[in-house]
């Protein structure tokens, strides 16, 4: 971690609120986006980010290794996000944003599919297009939270399996197996989608050829 941030962490631990604000500004964007990646909605992400920084300040004296601040605050965030998701699951809750997304989904997905099918000239284009980040995002969203979290920490935060184990409070072996399973699931999904798209485009091209 940069020396400047370590100074801010030290000052925050001593109770300096300005240093805390500096750290908030340095990390909140990344943490918010991580929360969004885990939960998939903005209102929960705001609450999780808020709770993460409240806990960070109130428990600041528990951080012994200042250089580990980022991983420590990620740990708070991930565990808070998991708690939120568990609560929601227990309560069978569905957020307002999820309702909107579901309503929008059937219509817009069909429209998007039509646009893609018409614009894709050949199967390879379709395959590459299918691997665009929006599609990948959708695929990851469909993964269980335990796979989504390891994917996030490994590919986005660049943490090793040992650090992920520490953050998530699980064994390193479990992290490795979840990572492997998540990769397999994503890979299979991508292949399925790409094959499906190739088949559709072939049909479209045949129809277009017949018309012209």
């Amino acid at each position: 971690m940069e020396e400047e941030k370590i100074i801010f962490v030290r000052r925050m631990i001593e109770g300096d609120e300005k240093a805390f604000d500096e750290l908030y500004h340095a990390y909140s964007k990344k943490l918010y986006r991580m929360a969004y990646f885990i939960t998939g909605n903005h209102s929960d992400s705001e609450d999780i980010l808020q709770e993460t920084f409240v806990k960070c300040y109130l428990h600041r004296k528990e951080l012994k290794n200042l250089g580990r601040f980022e991983s420590w605050i990620c740990q708070i965030l991930v565990r808070t996000a998991w708690k939120t998701e568990k609560k929601k699951k227990r309560a069978g809750e569905i957020s307002y944003e999820e309702i909107l997304e579901q309503e929008e989904d059937s219509g817009s997905r069909m429209a998007r599919q039509m646009r893609e099918d018409l614009s894709a000239v050949n199967p390879l284009d379709a395959c590459l297009q299918k691997e665009s980040f929006t599609e990948l995002g959708e695929m990851v969203k469909q993964l269980d939270i335990k796979y989504r979290t390891v994917i996030l920490l490994y590919y986005y935060n660049d943490y090793g399996t040992k650090e992920i184990a520490r953050i998530m409070g699980i064994f390193e072996g479990t992290v490795k197996s979840r990572l492997s399973r998540a990769r397999t699931l994503l890979h299979q999904q991508m292949e399925r989608d790409a094959n499906g798209s190739i088949r559709k485009n072939r049909q479209n091209n045949r129809v277009k050829g017949a018309v012209s």
């Binding site: 909140s28 969004y36 990646f37 409240v54 990948l136 996030l152 990769r183």
Partner: protein
């Protein structure tokens, strides 16, 4: 899995995550809420005996519980201070208080025999709505007293904002044309993840118990206080030392008489 697939997923994931909108406005709004929550939880945090007394006294002078909640209305107040803000000279504290509160206030050297001024602070109390948005601040002066056994007592003088619920004591007395009002409140400090019992919830609902979260272990405390108004100032004498209201009424009279000699 091949490395190009690994690189691809990494790049695409980063793109996906970076596309999530997080405006400056949202960032600032959440920071505001963070500070509000920290202050709220700190009120109940029992960092040490003196600090709890100080912070709760600061809170109680204006809330006496929690004020009516509504849009834009004050839901709670908070105000702590760092040790290095305290002054140990009574004349200096009185002068600072006069300047900050806009008028002379009464801060005696002793509350009673053996209960002597030790230090004090002049600063602001913040008022928050239920969304943890800061609605404003108002000035207060606090004088800390100690007896020979290390027991501590606090005299708080403030000029509250409009809309803050008035102190409602149970025992009253009139002295020098002023109504002194006193009461004993029971506090329960709980760790953040501990839930109060049904009985404690019931007492809280009846206004007989104030539950605060943030301590390391569950602790019961008795908070005794006496309050009165003089001019535009609200005075509050308070302690966690199991004092009697009648005894504190006498100390309040000492405060009122100070500066009249």
């Amino acid at each position: 899995m091949n490395s190009s697939w690994e690189d691809k997923i990494k790049t695409q994931l980063a793109e996906e995550i970076h596309a999530v909108d997080f405006s400056k406005e949202t960032q600032d709004r959440i920071l505001n809420r963070v500070h509000g929550q920290i202050r709220k939880r700190r009120i109940g945090m029992k960092m040490n005996r003196k600090y709890t007394g100080v912070i709760l006294a600061a809170a109680l002078v204006v809330i006496g519980g929690i004020t009516a909640i509504g849009a834009g209305k004050i839901a709670f107040t908070s105000g702590g201070h760092a040790v290095d803000e305290e002054v140990e000279n009574l004349a200096e504290l009185s002068e600072m208080a006069k300047e900050k509160l806009g008028g002379s206030v009464r801060i005696p050297e002793n509350l009673a025999e053996g209960i002597t001024f030790s230090s004090g602070v002049v600063n602001d109390t913040d008022a928050w709505d239920e969304e943890y948005q800061k609605l404003g601040s108002f000035p207060k002066a606090m004088a800390f007293y100690k007896d020979g056994n290390g027991k501590s007592y606090t005299l708080t003088i403030s000029k509250p904002l409009e809309g803050i619920q008035e102190y409602a004591g149970i025992v009253t007395q009139t002295y020098q044309g002023m109504e002194l009002s006193g009461k004993v409140d029971q506090y329960l400090f709980l760790p953040p993840d501990q839930k109060p019992s049904e009985e404690e919830r019931q007492l809280e609902a009846e206004g007989k118990l104030f539950i605060s979260y943030g301590s390391d272990e569950a602790e019961h405390e008795t908070f005794t206080s006496v309050s009165w108004n003089e001019g535009s100032f609200v005075y509050l004498l308070s302690t966690f030392e199991n004092a009697e209201v009648s005894e504190m009424m006498e100390w309040a009279k000492t405060v009122i008489d100070s500066g009249n000699e």
